[in-house]
């Protein structure tokens, strides 16, 4: 099967950050391959190793995003496409979905695989947008994938149980990181990735108008999350502190 995996470069949420006058300030070098997309790449690799096929990755982002593509190639993906941006366009999920759909319009594939959400914004919108724009059957929040003949079998996490869904190809799927543990590229993979092709294309080559690209949402400002008030910490003899806290939950916190 032919997989296209959409991968995003995102800021590392564990890196220190600051907010100055409503602006978010972070070290621009602390970026990672979105964890959910790493799982999507991993699963595509596992399935093609088992059933044959190929894995291409696509990333929309600024120059630095080529490192993110290199990472996926080092994991084992065959080829990358880098759709160049400046990074200052203020694109939202709708813009990215518009760009991705325009890119995929004349491509051949069996499965379009995406992350279930971006780790930095948690939007979780792009996957089903792309599916709708390309009129593909889809499933979101996949925790397991299987290939059966020309079908993709998706185990997805729903609100309560899990659902087993059978999708005819071509189809789209969004992946949870609960699906697998993405491999860490080894030296051989890293060396091999340097010889793998990355197509670099300009957004303007996709024939989209400014209006189609202009985001319908705008982040106006960032604010620190209001801090919780300082708590009490109890150390000492287990029996005593356990009983003490139980009583406080009743008499002080009123939650029992």
């Amino acid at each position: 099967m032919k997989f296209y995996v959409c991968i995003k470069m995102v800021p590392d949420v564990t890196a220190p950050l600051q907010i100055k006058e409503g602006e978010l300030i972070m070290d621009a070098d602390r970026v990672v391959l979105n964890a959910y997309d790493a799982s999507a790449v991993e699963e595509a690799l596992v399935l093609t190793e088992k059933h044959g096929g190929e894995v291409e990755v696509v990333c929309i982002g600024p120059a630095k995003a080529s490192e993110t593509i290199r990472k996926a190639l080092a994991m084992g993906a065959d080829k990358g496409t880098h759709i160049q941006t400046t990074g200052d366009e203020g694109y939202d999920s709708t813009s990215y979905a518009t760009i991705l759909s325009a890119f995929f319009k004349d491509k051949e594939y069996d499965v379009l695989s995406l992350g279930k959400q971006s780790q930095d914004t948690d939007s979780g919108l792009t996957g089903s947008m792309v599916a709708e724009k390309l009129d593909l059957p889809y499933a979101t929040n996949a925790v397991g994938l299987e290939v059966e003949d020309s079908k993709l079998i998706v185990k997805r996490q729903g609100d309560t149980g899990q659902e087993m869904i059978e999708l005819p190809t071509p189809c789209a799927v969004t992946c949870s990181n609960d699906m697998n543990d993405p491999r860490i590229p080894n030296l051989k993979g890293i060396m091999a990735s340097k010889r793998k092709p990355i197509d670099s294309i300009d957004i303007s080559s996709l024939g989209l108008s400014d209006e189609e690209l202009s985001p319908a949402t705008k982040t106006l400002s960032y604010a620190p999350k209001p801090a919780r008030k300082a708590g009490q910490k109890f150390e000492g003899e287990a029996d005593e502190i356990a009983r003490k806290v139980a009583q406080l939950l009743d008499t002080e916190a009123n939650v029992i």
Binding site: V13, T121, D122, E163, S176
Partner: protein, 324 residues
Amino acid sequence: MSSILTYIAIADGKVKRSSLEVLSHSKKLADAAGFTTEAVIIDPNASNYVEDVQKYGASKIYLVEDALFSEHRNSPLLSALAKIVETVDPKVTAFASTEGTKDILGALAANQKAAVVADVSSFELIDGGIKATRPVMAAKILANVEAKGNKVLVSVRSGSYDLNESPATAEVISVDAGVSEGDLKAKLREIISSTSDTIDLNEAESIVAAGRGVKDDEGKALISELAGVLNAGIGASRALTESGMYDPSLQIGQTGKVVSPQLYIAVGISGAIQHVAGMANSKVIVAINKDPDAPIFEVADYGIVGDLYKVLPPFIEELKKIKT
């Protein structure tokens, strides 16, 4: 007349509380703006829920009653919602941010060319759209976002708003789903596991959550006993849903569920930001951890430094005493 439309999610024969929270808030916004408050119910037994929904102020309720919706499937749900949004043409369509909503929200926005903001913790009407606050960067900070357009979709985290009854008599309008079984390309083969017999974590007043410190059946039994005493839902960190010790539906955090109960007891959980992202809005947080430097203590109102196997038995016993 302009309107705010709220999608009412049904689970286990009940209206989801989180949908009513959104409806309560929408009603307040609609009244202030001179809009109408409308709701849509999509379920095989949609009409059963009219009474519950009009209690929260919906003056028009659209019903899509069809056996197609006996299980969650994105394609028919999307078709029905697209048809409703198309014909009702609300300024804002609001959803509770359930997995069911997450499955279709982007597709609906694409279909309706609507501006969309997912998973907000609050939203207000502004000229030509909405202004919303949403947690980002693993909920470490809040982003103030604006969405403008003729149609705007928004999904709201559970627990963001209080329920507020304001009884109305609704005009009830039946709408055809506009799809049939034969149109569906994806096939639902089976529902694998279901925790429907346990307490819905999004609606639980109290939650006891287990982490890697809970190592064995003895630990699990202590968690169950504590949850039983408090009539609490049981949640888990990724470490324990991944190991198979707890059902994946019970994961709390960035990948799992976002919850905001009155009481959250984290047992043997270190407090990684991705876990905290899912529980930091709980009203009262208790942490039990043997490592005094565990980050979970930074968000805990009551921290107990100790071995959970030694702390839980007297803790449970004392709570039982208080309860009787």
